[in-house]
Amino acid sequence: MTVLPVAPRGTTDPPAGRSARPAGARGRDWRMAAEIVAFTAPALLLFALFVVWPILRAVQFSAFDWNGFGPLVDFVGLQNYVRVLADEVFVAAVGHNLLIVVASILVQLPLGLAIALLLNRRMRGQGMLRTIIFVPYVLSEVIAGVVWFQLLQPGRGVVEGILGTVGLEGPYQGFLGTPELAMPTLIVVLTWKYVGLAVLLFLAGLQGVPHELTEAAQIDGASWWQTQWRVTIPLLGPTIRMWMFLSMIGSLQLFDMVWILTGGGPANATTTMATFLVNEGTKRQNYGIAAAASVVLFVIALVMAVLYQRFVLRRDTADADVPRGVR
């Protein structure tokens, strides 16, 4: 492991350093600051332009009754938020997002782990299998959505054709048109689409599990199963926690696949926060309400991300900041 050169304290902690340091260090500090500004300016500029500015605009729009045309004149304060939070479709959408967060983790974690552990063994066609598992993730979400939409066509699609060969009949409204079945179907498609990412990350994490440890366990008489359960998976912890974080944020912001497959229907059975706000904005031209919904989505995602960082990822990232060798 390479030990990083320890940076001068002043760069990471200027307020504490200023009073305590001798005057001679000032010039060096100034140059250091200029360097930081010069190197971070382009990134900060892009960040401000494409992240901070749109967020501020969304907050601004959310305080107005605005149909998208003309200037913002009709200030309504928090009324749009009241309408969004009182809208049963939106409340249901929040529930759908949380359901997808939980279902994604509960389904993809064991499945991804199992596939990763299997693919980590030497076997014939390993490279091809890895590719097959990963291809859905690389595929554009819109294209994958259109393909699944056609496969799931009620009465005429391939899926019902296969069911037909074993004497089963699909539901009358199809898998995507039956309110009770639309969400489970969506979760199956999402699993197909995203389990590849989990497998890829877990496989990468597995490369970091020292071979000596598993070897030692085997010498001690542990079975393959015991080796995985007691040695490999615990050492995969940081990778799993990181993947769960990505999966959670992705599930909260889910839009493309739902929009293509169901448009949030049937009967709002698969509406997510993102499809709700796009429907309010572009279809109904209630841009103020759409903006309020987007701010609520932002706050929910931010709070969950911060809590997760604070309570789950803290140990992992602390390890990453200061390599073990330094401590």
Binding site: G68, G177, N279
Partner: protein
């Protein structure tokens, strides 16, 4: 100049208006949308500049008039009715297209008995389903009630409830294609229009654009060809509406507020006998210039044109007439009814709530 699919055009046009970068000449659908554009000062008043054309078009410009000023010139106006497969109707033993709902229910039973799916509807896109409620409202509500509703956004009249009851009854009769709740309107061969074009269903209720849409969805580019027939929305029993009144709408050329005078001249030229005749001869739409209505060659379209021209009035599609905010809430509620999750009262309540929020 750029050609694009209808819904893409709406999105791009909205974005162009928001960015203050609207094209000089654009397609205006009228109603509440136009009212929004006028209120935001985005579109040019054509009342004086195109006085001659406006007089020629007559009552048709009504849908593009705000406060007695005409803002766009309609170049194609059509009505919504049932497009059907004449061969399938014959096979099912239906000799005359139904003219009342009683006959319609008989036809549905006959088609089902012959093992066919009677009607396709793109309820996944909501508006094709919503058109049923509009049509029943048109048959049940008097012209005064509808005109008043557009102005005052008041939907308390009993006739709107009866429209909902009719839709409920129709859905319960199960005339629609399998999986209609997720069927799109017109994208791809498994859409509602595609099912009619590929002879999977016997009929579909759609606007005047249907032959063109179906042509694009079949390999030979012919759609249903000469098997295609058309009949207007059947009469209901005890309705207060004029049975000859039609639901419809159209497309008009609007001119952006900051466009040069040449843009106005161009729009006037687009309404000339010459352009409109070419438009009609190629079956691209239903011309509004009365001098050229004889140029429509397709028999189904010619029949539709006759119904349009003999209608006492053409009610603009509700979602366009009421604007997207109210219209969107209305369409969502009607789509819920197709899924069996809304009552006639729910449709009125949801629509009224959106209307009140606007006011």
């Amino acid at each position: 100049m750029e050609a694009m699919q209808h819904e893409d055009m709406l999105t791009q046009l909205d974005a162009a208006f928001q960015a203050g970068d609207a094209p000089d000449v654009y397609m205006e659908r009228g109603g509440g949308e136009l009212a929004d554009h006028v209120e935001a000062g985005l579109t040019k008043d054509l009342t004086d500049a195109a006085a001659e054309e406006i007089e020629l078009l007559g009552g048709t410009v009504q849908g593009w008039t705000v406060d007695d000023k005409v803002y766009a010139l309609p170049f194609s106006v059509g009505v919504v009715g049932f497009w059907y497969n004449t061969e399938m109707f014959e096979q099912a033993g239906i000799t005359e297209p139904p003219s009342t709902w009683e006959e319609m229910y008989d036809a549905i039973d006959q088609l089902k008995a012959a093992g066919m799916e009677p009607i396709s509807v793109g309820a996944g896109d909501k508006w094709p389903a919503a058109h049923y409620w509009y049509q029943f409202s048109l048959r049940h509500c008097s012209e005064e009630v509808l005109t008043d509703a557009v102005q005052s956004l008041d939907f308390s009249d009993e006739c709107f409830i009866r429209a909902g009851e009719e839709v409920e009854q129709l859905v319960a009769a199960e005339p629609f294609n399998r999986g209609f709740l997720s069927t799109p309107a017109q994208s791809g061969p498994t859409s509602a229009s595609g099912l009619l074009a590929t002879e999977q269903v016997a009929m579909e209720m759609q606007g005047h654009w249907e032959p063109g849409v179906m042509a694009g969805l079949t390999e030979d580019g012919e759609g249903l060809g000469d098997k295609l027939g058309w009949f207007p929305f059947p009469e209901v029993e005890g309705g207060e509406g004029d049975p000859e009144a039609q639901l419809g709408g159209g497309d008009a050329w609007g001119v952006a507020a900051d466009a040069p005078e040449e843009a106005v001249d161009f729009v006037k030229y687009m309404l000339s006998d010459e352009v409109q005749r070419g438009f009609a001869e190629r079956d691209m739409g239903l011309p509004t210039n009365p001098n050229v209505t004889d140029a429509v060659a397709d028999p189904a379209l010619a029949q539709l044109l006759e119904v349009r021209d003999s209608a006492p009035y053409v009610q603009l599609y509700f979602d366009t007439a009421f604007g997207q905010s109210v219209g969107g809430a209305m369409n969502d509620a009607i789509a819920l009814m197709f899924a069996g999750q809304a009552t006639p009262q729910d449709i009125v309540d949801d629509t009224q709530a959106a209307a009140d929020a606007e006011g």
